[in-house]
């Protein structure tokens, strides 16, 4: 089984050095990319069916195709790496950032070439201080080695790459809010259209890609689209960093073929549930996805299959709910986070997530009423996709709406018994 993204990860936890990275074939993808036209690279990546690993699963090559190319295109153009990993339960990019920073730099450089960009930014979660230090070092190495700078690999193409540390808001992970934050403005999302490919950073064509997405690019360029599709167990190409947290025996992170079934992840890789607990459900892709139940465990963890099962692959890092944990408290914890991280722009989100959090708290504290349950139901509809300005609130209410559907009796017991039965 191939693990292109994590094969070089060192056992001692230190970052892969430039020399090590080069020895393992590093920057071969970039060299190859520079010999091809940006449009051809886009076609290759599109053919490889690399779908965005930030959670939306949009075809990366297709995304690039909306960027104006050629002599008449506006400049400077930008590529931005979204490394603002802050979703509860999600810790996959951190590994790539800390363990193999050159892989990301190479991927970002390839993406930059693919849209004829001039400047690249790595927008990193501020709390990822180890990653920041390692990226800084790697960037310096890459500049010194000529992979970045005024004349990338003597191709005549100039690429400047900067590391930017986020001031620490979940909403900065929303790509347009990220761009506003990068411009020094409030991290409110922007209306789309226009999309960043047309009017992004400082109003110029921009693509924003997740860390894991970018890290796949060197390998696609080095090995080709067919290879990339061949290492997957799904029509979505490539491998995926899957994770598991919760009361499983071995919480962790694994690079596996895209489309690995949830059951295999849970039982083989995470080692099944801890003694004394049994499985009730899981959020497949971080906190902002719908619950899957025991009957869904055979779902192949790729973008389309998880969707068919009523949830989303999201970031592919599952949070497992067990029978010893109160699902209401579980959801309350998540909703409190999302309410706190609402940027305050659109009414359903700032008012609704707050209300939902208050209702969940009331349930947890034994003050809940049937009206609170009705309010929770209402908020899930009020914050549905299309009714809010961005995807934060629709994502935020996914665990809530599925918990209300799947664990209804637990919610009602809180009201009936005027207490949390788990306390």
């Amino acid at each position: 089984m191939e693990r292109p993204l994590t094969a070089r990860v060192r056992a001692d936890g230190e970052a892969v050095t430039l020399a090590e990275y080069e020895r393992a074939g590093g920057y071969r993808g970039l060299r190859r990319a520079l010999q091809e036209s940006p449009a051809d690279i886009g076609a290759t990546v599109r053919e490889a069916n690399l779908r965005g690993r930030g959670g939306a699963g949009f075809n990366t090559g297709l995304k690039w195709s909306f960027v104006p190319l050629g002599p008449d295109a506006p400049h400077p153009k930008y590529v931005v790496c979204n490394a603002d990993e802050m979703e509860p339960g999600t810790f996959k990019d951190r590994l790539l950032l800390e363990a193999d920073p050159h892989q990301l730099i190479e991927g970002l450089a390839i993406a930059a070439w693919a849209i004829e960009a001039d400047v690249a930014y790595i927008f990193l979660r501020g709390e990822y201080t180890d990653a920041a230090a390692r990226l800084e070092r790697a960037l310096a190495e890459a500049y010194a080695a000529g992979y970045l700078g005024p004349d990338v690999l003597k191709s005549g193409w100039r690429l400047e790459m900067y590391l930017h540390l986020s001031a620490g808001r979940y909403i900065c992970g929303e790509e347009t809010a990220l761009l506003n934050a990068l411009e020094g403005k409030r991290a409110n999302p922007r209306a789309k259209p226009p999309y960043p490919q047309v009017s992004g950073l400082w109003g110029k064509p921009t693509i924003v890609q997740n860390v894991e997405t970018l890290c796949n690019l060197p390998h696609i360029l080095a090995n080709g689209a067919e290879w990339f599709k061949s290492i997957s167990r799904s029509p979505d190409g490539g491998t995926k960093l899957y994770g598991a947290s919760g009361k499983v025996r071995r919480p962790g992170l694994w690079e596996l073929p895209m489309g690995t079934p949830a059951r295999e992840l849970l039982e083989e890789h995470a080692g099944g549930m801890r003694d004394g607990t049994s499985f009730r459900g899981l959020l497949p892709g971080g906190a902002s996805t719908d619950f899957l139940l025991p009957e869904h465990l055979d779902v192949k963890m790729d973008f389309d299959e998880v969707q068919k099962a009523g949830s989303r692959l999201g970031t592919g890092t599952m949070i497992v709910l067990d029978d010893r944990t109160c699902p209401v408290g579980f959801v309350h914890n998540l909703e409190r986070f999302f309410a706190q991280e609402s940027c305050g722009w659109c009414t359903p989100c700032w008012s609704g997530l707050h209300w939902a959090t208050e209702a969940l708290r009331a349930l947890e504290e034994g003050r809940g009423t049937p009206a609170d349950l009705a309010a929770l139901e209402h908020q899930t509809r009020f914050n549905a996709m299309g009714r809010t300005f961005c995807a934060l609130a629709p994502g935020a209410i996914e665990p809530l709406q599925s918990a209300l559907a799947y664990f209804r009796d637990d919610f009602e017991r809180h009201v009936r018994e005027r207490r949390c039965p788990w306390k």
Binding site: R169, P194, A339, Q340, E341, C343, G344, T347, R387, F389
Partner: protein
């Protein structure tokens, strides 16, 4: 045009608009908060949700935000759809989670957009049972109260204050349901447009403190359409009264003049009407003092002073056309003089000559926003013609609009357009002596003495057209600058040149005209703005008064026995005592409304009505004659100046023709006598105008205070006063809707109690008001070929001994440079202490630190003032903030001396 379907009905709409705009334009009710007609859409509040259907077979549809969806052809939406309606009610419910529901004690109550929209959505039952978030409020200065708990996070305030008006000190802080709109710390809001927050805020976060100190609900305010008197732009306002005091000014939309916004000087200066300094009795001089007498007695005394004697009249740029014309009729055209210094009178005359001859047209103030290149010469609009500074700020955004159009981003997508635009600005060149409030968006800010401004402008003109006489010896960097500005202006399709009287320099005016004319000669649709000094400077000048200097000469020769002074404080315009001295020992009969030095020296004072207590017509800088209407009847014996003058004419048997009973008769006589002003008659419908036999009511239909105040004396309702001068009634009875634009007494429509009811009065969103134009343009150019007047002045020579001789120039002030507004409390509170400003070079040569006190010698006057340092001020030039303290009647620009005490 496109065709859209709303709830099964087809509507013709403009496809470049969004659905909310299109629906409101067709009179449909759809609630909204964050969208604003002047500021476009950002999609934050989600209040205007509608159901959109793919086609006629789509029964399911999906919820979209009307403000964020283009009104493209074939669009099918439903406002009435149950799911959309329920969603809109939910939005209100969400917005109101932490709203304090303090409507009974909230100044916004009764004219609150949040109340209106809540009722419109049908949300009635509060379900949110938890604690509300609360905030600490801030002190924001004397104009605006702050009550953040009421905030519904629509972001309109910061979008206006920062994005639209270029302010910096109001911002948005915090996140989630705790977003805070305020300053970093308590303090006076700096923007001269802060008052618009009152109109913009959909609820009671920002309310008008000048109303709040003596509060009245909107439904208890008697209102009339009016014109702002605090500068010459002629912004349309609504003036509002209760119990004999003027309580508030709000914006009155006029598409071509002020749009949705006015400045703080205009909004917050109404206090002078209620001032304790008002003259409320007729006064005559007796035993060396002025004593109150019955008006008939005062008239007799005044008539005695005029009868059979050599009488002249002094007109006023702050009095109406009618009042000035009445004075002219009383004293005769040959004895009618302008009550302003000759230099200023000549300047306004020159401006008018240029505009009337052409070839360049002067635009309506709102048209300024269409300019694609702007040259400002010698005028700080942010201080003197404040509203126009806001328009110029929009003009420089045009390249962003063009970029957006190329990128197919609709212009109403406000955030997206600004994102594309970034710092891209259209060319704005500011040639001025002092720093200006628009420097932050200018491509070029060049400081020079007025003579050098004119020389630089002439050089620009020369580059554009060889027929312009250019300065021969302009230093190379300036010549290069002139060429580069000229080349940019030459590329513009709609270049604009703006200047005004503030520099006090005819050369500046002539040079501005030369540039505009040269641009026009090259085929551009050029336009030219001249800012006149006061509200009716243009009207007064069009009446053809003789120059003041002639009156002074005549008086000096002993040829004047009595002077009738109309609404004019000579000490404001002339050095102390100089005005009266010029008039020798003649007896003064003064008609005015505020006590001042001139009334103090009068033989007879007749108490006149302010703009709020009179009807009249003023002519703006644009040459637009506009009517202001009496808001309330002042206590006797106060009456309109023209009525006093008419009565004086009758009593003194001078004005044979002054048999006027109403304003229309005055206007008829005016039109007959002065053809250039004939259009003033049509500025608004005459007194006989009726809608279905009814007048337009000044009181709203909910007016409740008719009898309460006097109920302890009598519960009978007094008969409303008659109004022989206008078609408005002092009553709540009358034609309830759709008066002609010039007669709209307030914006109020069923279900729309706030000023946002405007959309029910417009032909379409951002279109003109229904019912015909308001105001009449009196000035259009008469010739098409280029016109170049004036000569290139010699360069300014700084004195050899810096720190001693200085060329003193006027620096206009938003608060303080206007005579009447500075008599209003909150304005007085915003005025700086007087100072003299000089450039860094001169200050350092003289070794003067900021704050050091110097004597400014100007002619015979000595003014002791602290020094301020304005780094860019040219060498040898010092600026005086005119209007502050004793800095009045200075006759600037002029040479003077600065000496350390």
């Amino acid at each position: 045009m496109a065709r859209i379907h709303v709830d099964g009905r087809a509507y013709e709409v403009d496809p470049s608009r969004n659905l909310l705009d299109a629906c409101l334009s067709h009179g449909l009710d759809l609630p909204y908060f964050c969208w604003h007609p002047a500021m476009g859409s950002v999609g934050a509040c989600r209040q205007c949700a509608v159901k959109q259907f793919r086609d006629e077979h789509d029964a399911k549809g999906r919820i979209v935000m009307a403000c964020m969806t283009p009104a493209s052809d074939g669009t099918r939406i439903s406002i009435a759809d149950a799911e959309a309606a329920a969603f809109r009610a939910s939005v209100i419910e969400g917005l109101m989670e932490s709203h304090p529901h303090d409507c009974p004690v909230c100044d916004e109550g009764g004219e609150c957009h949040l109340q209106d929209m809540t009722v419109m959505t049908g949300h009635t039952l509060r379900r949110y049972p938890y604690s509300k978030r609360t905030f600490r409020n801030q002190y924001l200065g004397p104009f605006i109260a702050h009550e953040m708990n009421r905030c519904i996070q629509c972001y309109r305030c910061v979008r206006f204050y920062r994005d639209y008006a270029g302010g910096h000190d109001l911002d948005v802080f915090g996140i989630r349901n705790g977003v805070y709109f305020g300053r970093a710390e308590d303090g006076v809001l700096e923007s001269e447009f802060s008052g618009n927050l009152v109109d913009l805020c959909p609820t009671g976060v920002f309310t008008d403190l000048t109303l709040g100190v003596r509060y009245t609900r909107k439904w208890d305010l008697q209102t009339a359409p009016s014109i702002c008197m605090q500068c010459s732009l002629g912004c349309n306002i609504t003036a509002e009264e209760r119990y004999g005091s003027l309580r508030r000014i709000v914006n009155r939309y006029h598409r071509d003049v002020n749009g949705h916004f006015i400045c703080d000087r205009g909004r917050f200066s109404h206090g002078f009407v209620n001032s304790p300094g008002r003259i409320r009795e007729a006064l005559v001089r007796r035993d060396g003092g002025l004593v109150a007498v019955p008006p008939g007695e005062a008239l007799q005394q005044a008539a005695a002073l005029l009868s059979g004697r050599r009488v002249i009249g002094l007109g006023s740029p702050r009095a109406s056309l009618e009042a000035n014309f009445a004075l002219r009729a009383l004293v005769g055209p040959d004895h009618f003089y302008q009550g302003v210094p000759d230099a200023q009178g000549r300047l306004v005359g020159l401006m008018l000559d240029i505009l009337r001859q052409g070839p360049v047209r002067t635009p309506a103030p709102a048209e300024v926003e269409e300019a694609d290149a702007v040259l400002v010469i010698g005028e700080d609009f942010a201080a003197t013609g404040v509203r126009m500074a806001l328009s110029l700020r929009q003009a420089v955004r045009r390249p962003g609009f063009e970029l957006a159009a190329r990128m197919k981003v609709p212009l109403w997508q406000d955030a997206a357009v600004r994102e594309l635009q970034q710092e891209l600005r259209g060319p704005l060149f500011i040639l001025s002596t002092c720093p200006t409030g628009l420097d932050d968006v200018a491509e070029v800010t060049q400081r020079a003495a007025p003579q050098d401004l004119a020389r630089l402008a002439y050089a620009v003109g020369r580059r554009l057209d060889e027929r312009v006489a250019g300065p021969a010896d302009l230093p190379e960097p300036l010549a290069a600058l002139a060429s580069s500005m000229a080349d940019t202006l030459a590329r513009a399709r709609r270049p604009l040149v703006v200047s005004g009287a503030s520099s006090g320099s005819a050369e500046v005016i002539e040079a501005a005209a030369a540039v505009a004319s040269a641009l026009q000669a090259r085929g551009a649709a050029a336009s030219l703005v001249f800012l006149a000094p006061e509200a009716n400077s243009v009207g007064l000048t069009l009446l053809g008064p003789r120059p003041f200097g002639e009156a002074a000469r005549l008086a000096g020769e002993g040829g004047v026995d009595a002077v009738v002074v109309l609404e004019n404080d000579l000490s404001w315009r002339f050095a102390p005592g100089e005005g009266q001295a010029l008039l020798g020992g003649a007896d003064l009969v003064v008609v005015d409304h505020l006590q001042n030095d001139t009334t103090a020296g009068a033989a007879v004072v007749l108490p006149s009505a302010t703009f709020a207590e009179a009807d009249g017509t003023v002519v703006s800088s644009e040459g637009r004659a506009q009517r202001f209407f009496q808001v309330f009847v002042p206590g006797a014996p106060i009456q309109e100046s023209w009525r006093w003058l008419r009565d004086l004419g009758r009593a003194s048997e001078r004005g044979d023709a002054m048999a006027w009973e109403g304003l229309d008769a005055v206007l008829e006589a005016l039109a007959a006598e002065i053809p250039a002003l004939a259009g003033a008659r049509d500025a608004a419908p005459g007194a006989g105008f009726r809608i279905a036999g009814q007048r337009v009511p000044r009181m709203p239909h909910r007016f409740s205070g008719r009898t309460a105040i006097g109920a302890h004396l009598s519960v009978h309702e007094p008969k409303p006063p008659d109004d022989p001068d206008s078609p408005l009634a002092f009553s709540m009875e009358g034609a309830p809707i759709d008066p002609p634009a010039a007669l709209v007494p307030r914006f109020w429509a069923p279900g729309w109690n706030s000023i946002q009811a405007l959309n029910k009065y417009q032909e379409e969103i951002n279109g003109p008001l229904r019912g015909g134009p308001a105001g009449v343009r009196l000035i259009e150019p008469t010739r098409g070929d280029a016109l170049y007047v004036g000569d290139v002045p010699p360069p300014f020579e700084p004195p050899r001994r810096p720190g001693d001789d200085f060329y003193l120039v006027a620096a206009g002030q938003v608060f303080g440079s206007d005579e009447l507004s500075q008599r209003a409390d909150p304005i007085a509170g915003r005025m700086h202490a007087p100072f003299v400003a000089l450039g860094a070079e001169d200050a350092s040569a003289a070794k003067w630190e900021p704050g050091v006190e110097v004597d400014v010698e100007l002619g015979a006057r000595v003014l002791r003032l602290p020094v301020a340092i304005w780094p860019g001020l040219p060498r040898g030039v010092a600026a005086l903030p005119v209007g502050l303290g004793a800095l009045r009647g200075l006759g600037l620009p002029a040479w003077g001396r600065l000496r350390l005490r």
